[in-house]
């Protein structure tokens, strides 16, 4: 079942095209990554889906409803944890629900516990590590009532070790909940490890270079990083990004 559909979207800023005729769709429960060079208009795409900017033409359809230019239809995890410093962890996790739905305190508590954040419910964000803050930020998006989650390079500000931990953690949580996820990244390995499909974007103006289905079975283990098939896929994507190839295998 189609969950999100982006249809022929164009967007330019001051006559400079940023997104040109972009169309793709997400199935319900799919984890899809958008991979592209930095400054390729990936974030602009998120702003369009989030409704804080309006496309020049084209439409964005969620569950069969046109949501172009409407806010509040996606739950969002930004690059920085963006937790409110005056709220404790529990109240921060509940923020997304508060904005568009109802607070479910018990659910939030059990999710925090499952995420290894038990005992930190009353802690303030500045008392926690970057990885813990990002976990809370992800839970905030996960518990929000919207069915589509948009994750904008959520691990790019973390150090290498924490990032790997977070990727493993994210994939295990996601495999439990199976929400539809649109994930922006510029890290090929991250995209391969996490996603069902990878959409590869060109440099500005953003066009779709390839739409790749990732064949690795779930649940995925971090040993995947060391398999030769994983390397082949990595090279393949790298070549597409450099414009040496136009399709997947």
């Amino acid at each position: 079942m189609t969950h999100l559909e982006v249809k022929h979207v164009y967007k330019s800023f001051e006559d400079k095209p940023v997104i040109q005729d972009l169309s793709f769709s997400l199935q319900k429960g799919e984890f899809v990554s958008i991979l592209g060079p930095s400054g390729s208009g990936k974030s602009t795409l998120f702003h369009l889906i989030g409704g804080i900017i309006v496309p020049d033409s084209g439409e964005i359809v969620l569950d069969g409803k046109n949501i172009t230019g409407q806010k509040g239809h996606v739950s969002f995890m930004p690059q920085h944890p963006s937790l409110l410093p005056w709220r404790n962890l529990l109240d921060n996790v509940l923020l997304g629900q508060e904005l568009t739905g109802k607070r479910e305190v018990e659910k939030a508590r059990s999710m925090l516990a499952a995420a290894g954040l038990e005992g930190h419910e009353k802690s303030y964000p500045h008392q926690l590590s970057g990885g813990m803050q990002q976990r809370a930020s992800f839970l905030r998006a996960l518990i929000s009532p919207q069915s589509l989650m948009c994750l904008d390079e959520p691990f790019s500000a973390l150090d290498e070790f924490t990032r790997l931990e977070m990727q493993k953690w994210l994939i295990s949580i996601w495999e439990q909940y199976r929400r539809t996820v649109l994930f922006i990244t510029h890290n090929i390995e991250e995209a391969l490890f996490l996603s069902d499909r990878i959409l590869i974007f060109s440099e500005r103006p953003a066009r779709m270079l390839a739409d790749i289905s990732v064949p690795f079975p779930r649940p995925r283990q971090s040993s995947l990083f060391l398999e030769s098939e994983f390397f082949d896929w990595k090279r393949n994507i790298y070549e597409i990004l450099r414009g040496e190839k136009t399709t997947g295998f």
């Binding site: 989030g50 239809h73 969002f76 963006s82 409110l84």
Partner: protein, 255 residues
């Protein structure tokens, strides 16, 4: 707590040194009391006039508290209105600044002409002192909310009122409190100034009577009490701030 004590201890030492030098000089040079009384003479007078002084003191405390609450409330409301209506802010902001250039001591007699000797002109004067620091601090606080938090709230579908109540208002509290602290010190001064222009009682009245009869010790008693009162107001706000903002990283008050 320890840090506050050691900081306070150093300030107290400087104060004591200052008083000691003052005391010694007035004794050595033999300065007459009506010109510059020694601290010991001021304390003696203070103890002696205490029963007479108390009603004046209470009147001033009441007046400054009332004026402070009204002034700060007015400043805060003005900031909220201007923030929620950016067009109005553009138009009104210059006048807000101009209002601070009105010489209040000159304005005071005019206010008496317009509003009489009641409480209203006094409240207006204190409000003129108090509202500006709070209004400007609150406006800055609303505006300076971190960009990424605002971005998250917008992407997550926050309405304008949610944006204000859940993000801008709590986020501006540190800024608002610095405005409140400045106004706390101003409010006592405003109250005394307003009492000069005509009142039944109050430290300002006590002061005017004392200075016109060359009872300089009494003037100094009044000055010290005013200073202590300002400090007390200020400390009360600091305590309130500490209670309300436990979430702030502790490193902030390291200085």
């Amino acid at each position: 707590m320890k840090r506050i004590f050691s900081k306070g201890g150093r300030s107290a030492a400087i104060l004591l040194l200052f008083l000691a030098v003052w005391e010694t000089i007035t004794r050595l040079v033999n300065i007459p009391n009506w010109l510059l009384p020694a601290p010991s003479a001021i304390v003696k007078t203070g103890v002696k006039v205490f029963p007479d002084f108390l009603p004046h003191f209470i009147a001033t405390v009441k007046l400054s508290l009332t004026g402070y609450l009204i002034g700060c409330g007015f400043g805060f409301l003005a900031a909220v209105c201007l923030h929620l209506l950016p067009k109005l802010k553009e138009a009104v902001y210059p006048f807000l600044i101009l209002s601070q250039n009105i010489p209040i001591i000159v304005l005071a007699p005019l206010l008496v002409i317009w509003f009489g000797f009641g409480i209203l002109p006094k409240i207006i004067i204190i409000t003129l002192f108090c509202f500006f620091p709070v209004a400007v601090a609150a406006l800055d606080g609303f505006r300076q909310v971190p960009h990424e938090l605002r971005y998250y709230m917008e992407m997550a579908g926050a309405t304008k009122s949610q944006l204000f109540l859940k993000l801008e208002l709590p986020g501006s509290l540190p800024s608002i409190f610095s405005g409140l602290k400045i106004s706390a010190a101003y409010s006592v001064m405003g109250a005394v100034v307003s009492e000069w222009i005509g009142a039944q009682e109050g430290i300002g009245v006590f002061m005017t009577i004392a200075s016109s009869s060359f009872q300089t010790e009494k003037v100094f008693v009044a000055i010290f009490v005013i200073m202590a009162l300002s400090l007390l107001f200020f400390l009360a706000i600091v305590l309130l701030e500490k209670r309300l903002m436990k979430w702030q990283p502790k490193g902030d008050d390291k200085r």
